[in-house]
């Protein structure tokens, strides 16, 4: 359960978000702005709990459709809008598991609350957004390599460049992302290996 903050403790971001949510409740066309803000967060949250990319896309789609359909029911009581979205995501993941009547690739049951791993989700969502800030050629290579899972050869053919040039762009893109990511990050990044081990053991830090 996410703690509810009294009005006096609301951050400026929460105030802005509240105004935006209220605007979307009055005019659903404004929901597009909420989508732009929260897409990466919801996607990263689901991807951390569900392994299959098609399933992640189905569930992300489900979450935003449910959120749009139920937007009028959201009441601002100090709970951030993102927590409401992630609660919908948890329910969507559970519904899917029930429909399939078997264990889907959900990390493990203790993960099906919002809080565990939330910082990692936020970091990953921020990294996804940083990809859009890369120089165009690096961005193309990173998107094709990681989101579309293409080989270096396929990317080279698609972009009309040599394989060596693509590997160089991949290197520069990752280097750029690391620099931008680390600059904004306050805490030192955790070791991925230990995070994975923690996830597998049902740890709370994710």
């Amino acid at each position: 359960m996410v703690a509810r903050a009294p009005a006096s403790e609301r951050s400026p971001q929460q105030t802005d978000e509240r105004l935006l949510v209220e605007a979307a409740q009055k005019d659903p066309a404004r929901f597009a702005e909420l989508y732009e803000i929260h897409f990466e967060r919801v996607y990263a949250f689901i991807a951390r709990r569900v392994g299959d990319r098609d399933a992640v896309e189905d569930l992300t789609s489900d979450v935003f459709h449910r959120a749009l359909a139920n937007l009028q029911r959201f009441e601002w009581r100090g709970v951030p809008f993102r927590a409401w979205l992630l609660r919908i995501a948890v329910n969507a993941i559970l519904d899917r598991a029930k429909r399939q009547d078997r264990e889907i690739a959900v990390a493990d049951p203790p993960e099906l609350s919002i809080q565990p791993g939330l910082q990692q989700v936020e970091d990953r969502a921020r990294l996804f957004r940083l990809v859009n800030e890369l120089p165009e050629d690096q961005q193309h290579v990173v998107v094709m390599r990681f989101a579309e899972q293409k080989s270096i050869r396929e990317i080279a053919r698609h972009l009309g460049r040599s394989e060596g040039a693509i590997k160089q762009l991949q290197f520069r893109g990752l280097e750029n992302l690391r620099d931008r990511f680390e600059v904004k990050k306050i805490a030192k990044p955790r070791n991925i290996r230990s995070a994975t081990a923690s996830k597998k053991s049902g740890g709370k830090n994710g």
């Binding site: 009055k26 789609s61 359909a69 690391r178």
Partner: protein, 345 residues
């Protein structure tokens, strides 16, 4: 032995991460920070998924209730006009096709797409006027033909039409005299589609959505499809004149707009900048709005020229005509009273 470059070394690490995301990361101090970033990126969302979901949501937004609309429903009962400004069976935008052989086109629409004829008459100018429905979408057809006095220029249009079986409808269109522009093919955006040109010059982009239904959730059966030389000036006009909303676009890095979705009132229009056989086709539209006079003035201020000033019509609409800077004709109408159909108006 040839020393491998750091680009090759990193790529080898990336290939391993993509293949086994949970495998240990390389210990090499130079590569480890980049490999960590690569491991985080293994779930990077596909941009086309992000854009497609946004587009789907924007279609859904038009159906979502707003708190203001719910409040309005409660208070508007007393001030409600005698009739709905958009008559039953119509949406905001109805394409109006003008054909040299209007009756021939009506037969084509019936035999190819199962169009239902709602009304057919001879208008005051001596030409044909007919109202048709294809599932949830209305079409108006006018023009000349055997025994009709009307002589004028045809005004064809282009349409994206959803059907249950793209291949069968494509074959039927050819049997009904259409010529093929493109045979049925599976498209990367999740539709099977084909294109034909009918004898009156209209383009029909026949599509079956490869999903749970044969069309996207919320999609109308027919959407007019514009092919302007450049999309942005047309959109700017439509936004200013008719408060059109752009719902999403797919453009190449050099700025060419390949596909764009617009909404005017409750109606969707599509657009793709002219290329190959898809050249500008200035068309005619009948546009229902709550206040014909106000929208007429707004259209003129956006750069349209007047074809006719607002006037009450014997068929129960008040309407006015304008031509936009791109040659499209818009008949802006408000339904003001229900009138029994007269076959000679």
């Amino acid at each position: 032995m040839v020393k491998r470059s750091r680009f090759d070394e990193l790529d080898q690490a990336v290939s391993g991460i993509l293949l086994h995301p949970d495998a240990p990361l390389p210990a090499d101090a130079r590569l480890a920070p980049l490999a960590r970033i690569a491991a985080e990126l293994t779930t990077l969302p596909r941009p086309d998924f992000r854009a497609r979901l946004k587009s789907e949501l924007q279609r859904g937004i038009s159906m979502a209730p707003s708190s203001e609309s719910m409040q309005r429903e409660a208070t508007e009962e007393e001030t409600k006009p005698a009739v709905d400004p958009i008559p039953q069976g119509y949406h905001s935008v109805t394409p109006y096709i003008v054909a040299a052989d209007a009756d021939g086109l009506i037969e084509f629409l019936k035999n190819t797409f199962g169009a239902e004829e709602k009304f057919r008459a001879v208008g005051s100018a001596g030409g044909r006027h007919a109202d048709l429905r294809i599932e949830d979408s209305a079409l108006m057809v006018g023009g000349g033909g055997a025994g009709l006095a009307w002589k004028g220029a045809p005004i064809p249009n282009a349409f994206h039409i959803y059907v249950r079986d793209c291949d069968a409808v494509y074959q039927r269109a050819l049997q009904q005299g259409a010529t093929s522009i493109a045979a049925p093919v599976d498209q990367p955006y999740g539709e099977r589609s084909a294109s034909v040109k009918d004898a009156a010059g209209n383009h029909w982009y026949i599509a079956t959505y490869k999903g749970p239904n044969y069309k996207w959730e919320g999609a109308p059966t027919i959407q007019p499809y514009m092919h302007p030389l450049r999309a942005d000036p047309v959109i700017a006009f439509l936004k200013h004149a008719f408060r059109a909303q752009e719902l999403g676009r797919h453009a190449s890095p050099d700025g060419v707009v390949h596909h764009l979705m617009l909404k005017i009132g409750d109606s969707f229009l599509e657009m793709g900048e002219a290329h190959g056989p898809y050249q500008p086709m200035p068309a005619m539209y009948y546009l229902y709005v709550p206040d014909c006079d106000a929208v007429y003035r707004q259209a003129l201020s956006a750069g349209a020229t007047s074809l006719s000033e607002p006037a009450d019509q014997p068929y129960g609409d008040r309407n006015a005509g304008v031509k936009d800077p791109f040659g499209n004709q818009w008949y802006i109408a408000t339904h003001i009273k229900d009138v029994a159909p007269d076959k000679n108006q």
